[in-house]
Symmetry: C3
Subunit: 129 residues, 3 copies
């Protein structure tokens, strides 16, 4: 079944933890064991798995990407957010995750994040479970 | 069921939209709702989701990757295409996508692209649907 | 069904081929045709598909990432492995692969690698097949 939820970002760039939302959907879907797909239908945001125990890890990744992909440059796309498209492509728009005993089967330090690169915006996340 | 189609690239580096081909396969497979896997069995090309409304977005991403990963450098691999292997690894070789009412359930501006980094070549794309 | 195996890395950074381990699991699972998920429950290692015929390709990718993401820098995360978290995020923690006639349906030159960025460590790899 297809599920969807929304996330409101509050800055141009930030990582927002969505592990809890996905686990709520798995409970609603009644999925016990299996795999699920997490997909973001946007081109300037991504979904990624990384450490959620120390928020500095996500901060370091955001800062790295900001240095790697300058916000302004000789871009052809005229909407002023080419860097956001590039960062989203580097992290990716889909994840395929394992479900065990009704929850995402993640490592101890792992969380699923929505990576916002062109906020603040209201974003949709789709889950096939 | 496993499906396959081929794409002929015409330049060393380019993004080729393959959303239509995948939707044709979904129609052939008779898949209405679910998820599908798109996989490219090559090591110097990738599959990625990004904006398809403005071709400048793909052009900016190609130009960024060309600056990031120089075509020539102190590479050990002697076939002269190490940059292509690296770019392909950064974007990835597999996508897992949601299918709704017989079509890929993409966002308004999203398309699925074959990213060619060592063309022109004839490339295969595999779809499990 | 959920399967798991472990990999012992022997250096801080290295690519370890795990195609054979996954194929052994597929044989154990009795999966003939379909798709499987490969997931690594760690935040400083990744799973990726790339050329396995010439080990120089993996060496070039490791060297590129080492230049791209300096091991030391103005990182906030205090464990001294921020670069490893960033490299893992760039390659990704999950793969969704096609299975044909009981084996991974990879291209001629493709292999599945565990990418270690903060070893030596004992790593788990999970497979849903």
């Amino acid at each position: 079944m297809l599920y969807e939820f929304t996330v409101q970002s509050s800055r141009r760039e930030e990582f927002i933890l969505i592990t809890g939302e996905i686990n709520r959907i798995l409970a609603e879907a009644g999925m016990k064991n299996g795999s699920c797909t997490v997909f973001i239908p946007h081109t300037t945001a991504a979904v990624t798995v990384n450490e959620c125990a120390d928020a500095d890890v996500a901060a370091d990744l955001l800062a790295f990407l900001a240095r790697l992909v300058p916000a302004s440059g000789a871009y052809r796309h005229r909407e002023g957010n080419s860097d956001a498209h590039i960062k989203a492509a580097l992290l990716g728009t889909s994840l395929h995750l394992i479900v065990r005993e009704g929850k995402l089967d993640l490592g101890t330090w792992q969380g699923v994040f929505l990576a916002e690169f062109d906020g603040p915006r209201r974003r949709k996340v789709k889950v096939w479970a």
